[in-house]
C-alpha cells in the first residue's frame, strides 16, 4: 500500500524506463581502475562546489580549498571589484604552494591585497596577476605577461561557489545545473550564515556513502532510535516511503513528507528534544524567511519535510521545511576511501535558546551520521568480497540506481572520446 501518489506506471522506477528494474552492479565502487577513469571523466570535468559566497564577505576576502583526491588546492578570492575568482594555489615560479598557514596541507582563509609566495617572494594580486618578481634581472627571457596564477573556471549559483577543473568548459554552470536545481535561485540560503562544519575520513568508496544518503529505506532498521524513545516507536519494521522522486539530467531529488516533530505527542519525544524544541529535523521554531521559497517542494506535497537535492557528482543540498539547510560533499581519495564534508547552516541564533536548538540539531546530525559512517566500512568490505555480482534495488532506492547509471555513462562517454579509443 502506498501513502503518496506515484506516477501512472505504478512505480517511480518504471516511470523512467531507461533505468530498468534489474539488479545493479557496484563494481564501480570496488575497482581501482574505475576510480582512475572516474576522476578524469567526472571530477576533472564536472562543476564542483567548493564553498559559499558568505565565506568571502568583503572585497579582498579569500579562502583556500583542498580538493581531496584531485591533487588540487584552489584559491577562491573576491577581487577589489567584488568579483569572485578561482586559481590553482601554485606559484608560477617554482611550483610552491602559494597560500597556506600552519602546514601546506591545511586550508586557510582571510583578507589580503596580494598573495606572497613564502619561498622566493613572488607576489600576485587578487586577479592572479604577478606583481613582483624578486631579482628579475637574474632571469632569462622572463615574459612580460604570462607570469600570473593559473585560473580555474568558477561561477556562482544561489551563493554556492563552483569550480570546474577542465581546461575548456563544455557547459556553463547554469546549463549544467538544469531546471530542477536551477529553480533554487532566490531561495534565502544567504540568510543562513551560522555554520557548523564536520569532516570525516571514511573507508568506503564515495558513492557508497552518497547511496546511504539518497534513500530513506535504511532509516527504520539502522536509525531505530531516531524514531522515538519508546519500544513502540522504535519499530525497525516501520515502512518508510519517499513522497516524491525526481530526476533531471545527472541530478536527483527525493522529497519527504510526514508529521513534523513539533506536532508529536510528548511521550514520543526524547526529553532533550522537548527541552530544546529541536532534533533530527532541526529546530522546531522556523525563522521567518518570507512568503515564497523558490525551488523547494517542487511537487507541492502536503506536510513537506525535506528536499534532498543530489547535485551531480558530489554535492547534496538538504533543505528543511523549518528553514535551515545542510550540504554534504564527498571527495574520493581512492577506490575505497573518501573525505566527507558536512555543513549545517542556520539563520544566526539571537539568544541562548536558539543557540541550543541549533546545537542539538548539530549533535543529532553527528550521532546518527556516525551510524551511517560506521556501516560504510562493512558495506565496502562486503562489496569487495565479490560474493555477488549484482544487487537488488527497490523503488525507494531509485536514486541509487540513477546515480550509478549516470556515473557509468559519464565514464563511458569520456573513454569513447579518448584518442585511440576503438569505439571512437
Amino acid at each position: 500500500m502506498t501513502r503518496f501518489p506515484r506516477p501512472a506506471e505504478g512505480t517511480w522506477t518504471e516511470h523512467h524506463p531507461e533505468l530498468g528494474t534489474g539488479p545493479v552492479s557496484f563494481e564501480d565502487s570496488t575497482s581501482p581502475a574505475f576510480y582512475e577513469r572516474e576522476r578524469a571523466a567526472i571530477f576533472e570535468r564536472a562543476w564542483l562546489n567548493v564553498g559559499r559566497v558568505e565565506q568571502l564577505p568583503r572585497n579582498g576576502s579569500y579562502f583556500t580549498k583542498n580538493l581531496p583526491g584531485l591533487r588540487t588546492s584552489v584559491i577562491v578570492a573576491r577581487n577589489p571589484d567584488g568579483r569572485v575568482r578561482a586559481f590553482h594555489n601554485v606559484c608560477r615560479h617554482r611550483g610552491n604552494k602559494l597560500v597556506w598557514e600552519g602546514t601546506p596541507r591545511d586550508e586557510t582563509c582571510g583578507r589580503a591585497r596580494q598573495f606572497v609566495c613564502k619561498y622566493h617572494g613572488w607576489r600576485y594580486d587578487l586577479d592572479g596577476a604577478c606583481t613582483y618578481v624578486h631579482q628579475p634581472g637574474e632571469f632569462f627571457d622572463l615574459p612580460e605577461d604570462g607570469l600570473g596564477l593559473a585560473p580555474i573556471h568558477s561561477d556562482i549559483f544561489a551563493g554556492f561557489i563552483f569550480v570546474n577543473l577542465a581546461r575548456e568548459l563544455r557547459q556553463t554552470l547554469r546549463d549544467y545545473l538544469g531546471p530542477m536545481v536551477g529553480a533554487l535561485e532566490g531561495y534565502p540560503f544567504d540568510a543562513m550564515t551560522e555554520r557548523y562544519s564536520f569532516r570525516a575520513e571514511n573507508d568506503s568508496n564515495w558513492k557508497v556513502f552518497i547511496d546511504a544518503f539518497q534513500e530513506y529505506y535504511h532509516v527504520p532498521p539502522l536509525h531505530t532510535h531516531q524514531l522515538g524513545p519508546t519500544p513502540e516507536a522504535q519499530n525497525p519494521e516501520y515502512e518508510f516511503e519517499g513522497a516524491h522522486y525526481q530526476l533531471d539530467g545527472p541530478h536527483r531529488l527525493v522529497t519527504t513528507s510526514g508529521t513534523h516533530k513539533h506536532h508529536w505527542p510528548a511521550e514520543h519525544l526524547y526529553p532533550a528534544e522537548a527541552l530544546t524544541r529541536s532534533g533530527s529535523t532541526g529546530p522546531w521554531d522556523a525563522p521567518d524567511l518570507g512568503e515564497t521559497l523558490p525551488g523547494v517542494n517542487p511537487s507541492g506535497i502536503s506536510r513537506w519535510g525535506i528536499d534532498n537535492f543530489q547535485v551531480f557528482p558530489n554535492l547534496e543540498i538538504l533543505i528543511y521545511e523549518r528553514g535551515w539547510f545542510v550540504t554534504y560533499r564527498y571527495w574520493p581519495t581512492s577506490h575505497n576511501t573518501h573525505v566527507f564534508e558536512g555543513d549545517l547552516h542556520f539563520v544566526p541564533a539571537k539568544n541562548a535558546r536558539e543557540r541550543l536548538a541549533h546545537e542539538y540539531a548539530a549533535l543529532t546530525f553527528k550521532e546518527y551520521g556516525l551510524q551511517d559512517c560506521g556501516t560504510l566500512d562493512g558495506t565496502q568490505m562486503g562489496l569487495e568480497q565479490g560474493a555477488f555480482d549484482s544487487f537488488f534495488l527497490n523503488d525507494q532506492e531509485i536514486l541509487v540506481r540513477h546515480f550509478h547509471k549516470t556515473v557509468g555513462e559519464w565514464v563511458d562517454a569520456f573513454d569513447r572520446a579518448q584518442p585511440g579509443s576503438p569505439k571512437r
Binding site: 526529553p271 535558546r353 541550543l356 541549533h358 560506521g374
Partner: protein, 111 residues
C-alpha cells in the same frame, strides 16, 4: 575549585563545572567518551531539571555579550545536550553501531 564558576543561583551545579564547562564540541565529545555511564547519569540527573531555568537565565543577556559566569552556564548546557544522547538514547557513552567511524566538528559558532 575555590573560585565560583557559575551564577550564584546555580551554585548547586558547581561540582560539575570544572569537568563540563567546555567551550568546544571536540572537548565535550571527548569528555563524554571518557566518562562512565554513572558519571554521565549523575550530571544529567542533577542538571536536567534545572536546564529550563538555566536557559532562561542565559537569555537575560545578549548572546554576544554574556558575562563570564553565564557563558560557562551556557557551556554547561551544551554539555548537558552532549550527555543527553548517552543517557536518553544510547544508554552508553558511544553511539550504537558506529564502528570505528569518527566525524570531527571543525567549525562551530561561538559562544
Amino acid at each position: 575549585m575555590s573560585e565560583r564558576m557559575l551564577p550564584t543561583q546555580f551554585g548547586d551545579l558547581e561540582p560539575f563545572a570544572a569537568t563540563w564547562c567546555l567551550a568546544t564540541e571536540p572537548e565535550r565529545w571527548a569528555q563524554r567518551l571518557r566518562s562512565s555511564m554513572e558519571e554521565l547519569q549523575t550530571f544529567y540527573d542533577a542538571f536536567f531539571p534545572r536546564a529550563e531555568a538555566a536557559i532562561a537565565y542565559c537569555d537575560g543577556f545578549p548572546l554576544d555579550d554574556l558575562p563570564a559566569d553565564a557563558e560557562r552556564l551556557l557551556q554547561l548546557l551544551h554539555s548537558l545536550l552532549m550527555v543527553s544522547y548517552a543517557v536518553e538514547v544510547w544508554k552508553q557513552p558511544e553511539v550504537i553501531h558506529c564502528g570505528s567511524a569518527r566525524i570531527d566538528r571543525i567549525l562551530e559558532p561561538r559562544p
